[in-house]
């Protein structure tokens, strides 16, 4: 009996002492396992050229784009906005975080565009981050008038164009995005008897002025093969929100779909011939 009281007394003293201290918490923090995917450019497009960015898995992107055909200096055309205009509408879908497909249509020769983009490399280096992607596509021109004025059969093999692109992106100081896009286009002149090709090197710079605004310059130089009269040049501004991109720009090209854009432009910017264009995209969750 006496021993029991001594035990209770000693234990009470010990307990009081222990309780006065902070409890010894045995929980230990685990390092967060969330690894962010590397993103450099904000959009999956520069203007006409692609960036190495892809949508998030199961996201859709709807695109509506215009290239006003009259130049900004044309008479009575309100900077070209009175039109007519070439229009593209497209829908992209991300199968994975790195693989996406796009179906688009332009009213320029009723060109249907089917393409796949795959991002295959990320270098998450703070000073020199790199993203690499590749894009392959098919352009199907379904309204082609031959020089005789005859409408060519839609399924004529000369109506199909194929292209492949390698996309290199980096971002300096988290502000200046740089892109280089070597491209190969097969059957770049669909009215030529012999099959033409074009090898071009596209490049673009995009400077992010703020979280919402950026400015950019894009060009696509034909290195060898067929080219319309001039290399395409585009410069403009971009406004982005949580799910939209609004790009407004001046360009010497009237083409929207890649197989048409890569074949060159028709205006000489040295003469001050520019046309207005815009791209609007909206990202949606499936």
């Amino acid at each position: 009996m006496k021993n029991a009281f001594i035990f209770v007394f000693v234990f009470s003293l010990m307990w009081t002492g222990l309780s006065a201290q902070d409890p010894a918490i045995r929980w230990k923090r685990e390092e967060p396992k969330t690894k962010e995917q590397l993103h450099l450019f904000h959009s999956i497009h520069a203007v006409n050229l692609p960036t190495a960015e892809t949508l998030k898995k199961n996201e859709l992107e709807y695109e509506i784009s215009h290239r006003f055909i009259p130049t900004v200096t044309a008479d009575n055309a309100y900077f070209g906005i009175d039109g007519p205009a070439n229009i593209r509408t497209a829908l992209a879908y991300a199968i994975t975080n790195h693989l996406m497909i796009t179906v688009g249509r332009s009213n320029l020769q009723d060109n249907y565009d089917f393409r796949v983009k795959y991002q295959f490399y990320q270098l998450d280096n703070p000073a020199f981050p790199v993203l690499l992607a590749t894009r392959a596509g098919l352009g199907w021109n379904t309204e082609v008038y031959e020089s005789s004025g005859k409408l060519r059969d839609k399924t004529d093999s000369k109506n199909f164009q194929y292209y492949g692109q390698l996309i290199f992106n980096t971002m300096l100081w988290k502000k200046l995005g740089i892109g280089v896009v070597p491209s190969y286009l097969y059957n770049s002149h669909i009215l030529c008897v012999d099959t033409e090709y074009s090898f071009t090197v596209g490049s673009y710079l995009q400077y992010y002025v703020s979280a919402l605004w950026s400015v950019y310059f894009e060009t696509n130089t034909t290195v060898t093969g067929f080219r319309r009269t001039y290399n395409p040049i585009t410069l403009g501004i971009e406004l982005e929100t949580g799910g939209h991109f609004f790009k407004i720009f001046l360009s010497n090209s009237q083409a929207l779909n890649p197989s048409q854009f890569m074949a060159g432009a028709d205006l000489n910017v040295r003469d001050g011939d520019w046309r207005l264009g815009f791209n609007i995209t909206r990202i949606l969750k499936l």
Binding site: P23, I25, R26, W27, P32, T34, H39, A211, T241, G242
Partner: protein, 190 residues
């Protein structure tokens, strides 16, 4: 003698501390809800961790409640918006997580296994600490405790610029809703 020892043993068992850790195996959910004129949006994550400690079977005795949320894992449903939120507003490179540390100061039993609790402590967001009182519901179930709570955070209190969406500012008060499970810690489980 035997009776005294039995009484002593039973008494001591109540004196033992109880520590519960967030159970990653359960369906935890943290929501950041924001009202905007055009569209509301939610950031959702299950990446919550932390603990609850108390003694004598009483949630308010020597109580400690701590939880932290991995902000890099917040998903608003659109990848671009996630990036905006992380890079432009929450600056998760610098402040990857947010946490609350406090104690349960009031526990009112409302049913067999349910309590309305009040916790007072400090919340850390975006590099700034502020005192916070949170009311919530605590449910006990075998070796688990479920905590559900809701509170509001004023973004300007934490030096977070208010996100713009389609030129319209969203509400600067963000609604946080937490629903997570804690499992009784057993050293043998380590």
């Amino acid at each position: 003698m035997k009776a005294i020892l039995v009484i002593l043993f039973v008494s001591l068992s109540f004196l033992f501390s109880q520590e519960y850790h967030v159970s990653k195996a359960d369906k935890n959910e943290v929501k950041f809800i924001s009202d905007a004129p055009l569209e509301d949006f939610e950031g959702v994550t299950d990446k919550i961790d932390g603990y609850l400690y108390f003694e004598n079977g009483d949630f308010t005795v020597n109580s400690q409640l701590y939880f932290e949320i991995d902000l890099k894992s917040l998903d608003t449903g659109i990848g671009l918006r996630n990036r905006h939120m992380r890079d432009n507003y929450l600056h998760t490179d610098k402040y990857p997580s947010t946490h609350f540390k406090g104690k349960i100061v009031k526990a009112e039993k409302t049913a067999d296994n349910q309590f309305n609790v009040t916790s007072e402590g400090v919340i850390f967001i975006h590099g700034i600490e502020r005192p916070l009182t949170v009311n919530g519901k605590l449910t006990t179930m075998d070796d688990r405790i479920q905590i559900q709570c809701q509170f509001e955070v004023k973004l300007s209190d934490f030096n977070i610029p208010i996100p713009q969406l389609m030129f319209m500012k969203i509400n600067e008060v963000m609604d946080l809703r937490l629903n997570f499970y804690l499992k009784r810690f057993d050293a043998k489980d380590k």
